[in-house]
């Protein structure tokens, strides 16, 4: 799927509930599956990855859409830690 499109046109959006899961998903779509358990082990897709609740994405989503689909679940998440984990992976330091 990812190889069908120009990487500059693709964005991966995560809905993971925890910092650890977010880091694992983010690493899987950038540098490859860190657990070496799945099909993306050793496959470096290098895709830009964001979490749906982090500020850079949230500010681009219409408030009614965010409130209807994301806000309730985001209240139960440590959004700051998740955003930091995904950003670290995205910027290559995670």
């Amino acid at each position: 799927m990812a190889e069908q499109f120009d990487k500059d046109d693709v964005v991966v959006l995560l809905g993971t509930p925890t910092e650890d899961a977010s880091r694992l998903y983010a690493m899987t779509v950038t540098s490859g599956d860190p657990s070496w358990a799945g099909a993306l082990a050793g496959v470096s897709l290098g895709l830009p990855v964001y979490h749906i609740a982090e500020a850079a994405v949230r500010e681009r989503i219409a408030a009614p859409d965010y409130d209807e689909h994301v806000a309730l679940m985001a209240m139960a998440m440590d959004v700051d830690a998740i955003a930091r984990a995904v950003r670290d992976v995205r910027e290559g330091s995670g």
């Binding site: 990812a2 693709v10 895709l47 964001y50 994405v57 859409d65 689909h69 679940m73």
Partner: protein, 42 residues
């Protein structure tokens, strides 16, 4: 991070935000959702 015109891969999780919810938000922001999944580890 502008979503307009982007091709979005929405990877949701049952205990977090589900793929359909991510897709709805992305589509509303002008993106094209090319893959939508909701994972469950229970």
């Amino acid at each position: 991070m502008d979503l307009k015109g982007k091709k979005v891969i929405a990877l949701g999780e049952r205990d977090g935000v589900q793929g359909g919810a991510i897709a709805a938000c992305a589509a509303g922001a002008g993106a094209e959702v090319v893959l939508e999944k909701t994972y469950c580890f229970v």
